[in-house]
């Protein structure tokens, strides 16, 4: 997706959890080369919000926080559980290595602008625009 100030992603999933996972992988692929990240270790990622759209922003913000504050690069997420205003999953990856992971963009944040999360045709579609 194109936007003069920013970049965005569109993701799809058969379930809401899968759409959340695909958004997370989409965001990671903006930052680095996913294929170059090993699945060495897993960390628990959990986010909370009042409605589903806010939950998606909160979930992606939480992952971004891990990347930047903990220096952890995600390559994969196990099934994302979404229940009672919470999203949670084990995320697999390894310590962020700027040399080896083919770093691309610095993502500052997922935004609410142009945010979409809709159930249709037996699945969920999502659109998120990032400030980069």
């Amino acid at each position: 997706m194109e936007h003069t100030a920013d970049v965005g992603i569109r993701a799809w999933g058969e379930s809401l959890g899968e759409a959340f996972r695909n958004c997370a992988l989409g965001m990671m692929s903006l930052m680095l080369d996913l294929d170059k990240v090993g699945r060495e270790k897993r960390v628990w990622v959990e986010a909370e919000a009042e409605d589903l759209e806010a939950l998606l922003v909160s979930w992606l913000s939480e992952i971004l926080f891990y990347v930047e504050a903990e220096g952890f690069a995600f390559a994969w997420f196990e099934d994302v559980e979404i229940e009672g205003g919470k999203a949670a999953a084990w995320g697999w990856g390894e310590e962020l290595d700027p040399e080896r992971h083919g770093l691309k963009l610095e993502v500052k944040a997922p935004t609410y602008h142009g945010l979409r999360l809709e159930e249709r045709e037996g699945g969920w579609t999502a659109q998120v625009i990032f400030d980069v």
Partner: protein, 481 residues
């Protein structure tokens, strides 16, 4: 929808979006641009965003846009919105994720003719001295308590540690310390994200450039600028600290929105009353990020001075390496302005816009009282940058604001399709510009084609009376994250 049909031309560079253009607008929109820039802004949906901002509670006079307007997330980039400090709101999106992202210019007493032979060495030393790019840590290690002091006291705290000069404070907005900073309003996450990032350039459109003054106008000598002078420009912000503070408070205000009964056209515009707990907490945390950003640019300045000292075998003071000025182009500030003949306390949001105060405002440092406040406008790679000064007219028209840069016209992806990083590097080198960049794709995203012509933007600012040109610089060396 297109806003071009409803625009009213007020004068050559001033266009109004009337209140009737969209339900919910509390004030009109005013865009400073020429026809060509307006068409770009409209195609980009940025005029729609000007109208959306006009719907915010407590907005005064108009939702304004500077000539470098382009589509942002919620607020347009180049947007200025002043809210009544008693009745109005504060919106973290009106400041942006990179709180207090800004630009500073460091002068030297060197002419390009005499410095040329040593600039490559200087650039190598800057690259070694200033951490850049993604996932890199800064050279300053700070304990939590030290970070808190830094965010409460601003650049003074850093200078007390021997990083930077006392006189640099006069060349910073708010004397290097944004008032009202309360580190206890900053989340643990923001501390964790900003840890070890003081004194790091970052990535994206952030850069460091060695430039040469190539055109001077009326007030240049009053600001110590002369033709062929070597100067250094730094563009960076509050890094992960600011990004997380904005993320945190957008979430806080998304939750409190219903309680205040606000109905907004775009969720990214979430806001809270200036005088509410949410509003006050955000402003206290935002001030911390502003101080963090000024410290970041001050630490980078320190290492630039060190690099030049080694390259030119002379002290930074004898090299005349004073800070001309340090501006923030993403910030909200409490200011007093005259509206309809009456003095009012306003919270002025500038999102991709620069404060441009004339001489005589109490906020302008004494050394600039004869000229007005310097404004630093970065161009894009390979093109010119400018020094401007604020004007009386800006104070009347735009709450003392002007543009912040060239403004994008191509998305990053489109820029990469059009330009290859290695080709761009060769092209720049062919123009006599040395380049140091993290990776070629990042370079291509910031290609000159991706931006509007900064000269045009600056000329419209001058034509509209929002600022005056003082000097123009061309880059000779570029360092990007």
């Amino acid at each position: 929808m297109s806003f071009l049909d409803v625009l009213r031309k007020l004068d050559e560079f001033t266009w109004e979006i009337p209140r009737e253009a969209q339900p919910g607008m509390r004030v009109p929109g005013i865009v400073y641009a020429d026809r060509a820039l307006l068409e770009k802004a409209d195609a980009d949906n940025a005029l729609q965003q000007v109208a959306n901002v006009a719907c915010l509670p407590g907005i005064v006079k108009a939702s304004l846009a500077m000539p470098d307007i382009h589509w942002g997330y919620g607020f347009p980039i180049g947007g200025v919105a002043a809210m009544d400090a008693e009745e109005g709101v504060v919106s973290p999106g009106g400041v942006g994720y990179d709180i207090s992202c800004g630009v500073r210019l460091i002068k030297t007493s060197l002419s390009y003719r005499e410095a040329k032979g040593r600039l490559e060495e200087a650039l190598d030393l800057l690259e070694a001295g200033v951490p850049k790019g993604l996932g890199t840590k800064g050279r300053l290690r700070m304990e939590r308590k030290e970070m808190e002091r830094l965010m409460a006291r601003g650049a003074r705290e850093l200078i007390a540690r021997g990083i930077g000069w006392d006189e640099d404070l006069e060349a910073m907005e708010e004397g290097g310390c944004y008032p009202g900073a309360d580190p206890s309003r900053v989340s643990e996450k923001a501390y964790a994200r900003g840890r070890d990032q003081v004194g790091t350039l970052g990535a994206g459109n952030h850069f460091l450039e060695i430039q040469v003054v190539d055109e001077v106008y009326e007030l240049a000598d009053r600001l110590g600028l002369f033709p062929d002078q070597v100067v250094i420009m730094v563009h960076s912000g509050s890094r992960g600290m600011g990004h997380q503070i904005c993320t945190d408070y957008i979430q806080v205000m998304a939750s409190s929105l219903a309680r205040y009964g606000y109905d907004l056209p775009d969720r990214q515009l979430v806001c809270a009353p200036v005088n509410s707990r949410e509003g006050e907490d955000y402003l206290a945390a935002m001030a911390c990020a502003a101080n963090f950003a000024m410290c970041n640019r001050e630490a980078i300045t320190h290492w630039i001075r060190e690099g030049f000292e080694r390259a030119f075998r002379a002290g930074a003071r004898s090299l005349g390496m004073e800070v001309l000025y340090d501006v923030s182009h993403n910030l909200a500030k409490l200011e007093e302005h005259e509206v309809g003949g009456e003095k009012r306390a306003l919270l002025v949001h500038r999102k991709g816009a620069t404060r441009a105060f004339p001489a005589g405002r109490p906020e302008v440092a004494e050394r600039y009282s004869p000229t007005g406040q310097p404004v630093i406008i970065p161009g894009d790679m390979g093109s010119h940058s400018y020094v401007l000064v604020g004007t009386e007219e800006a104070l009347k028209k735009s709450f003392g604001s002007t543009c912040h840069g060239a403004g994008r016209q191509l998305s990053r992806k489109a820029a990469k399709r059009k330009v290859r990083g290695d080709e761009l590097r060769r092209r720049l080198e062919g123009m006599g510009i040395m380049v140091r960049a993290g990776h070629p794709a990042g370079l291509a995203e910031e290609a000159p084609e991706a931006y509007k012509d900064v000269r045009e933007v600056v000329e419209i600012c001058e034509g509209a009376g929002l600022s005056r040109r003082v000097a123009r610089m061309r880059p000779v060396a570029v360092m990007k994250g």
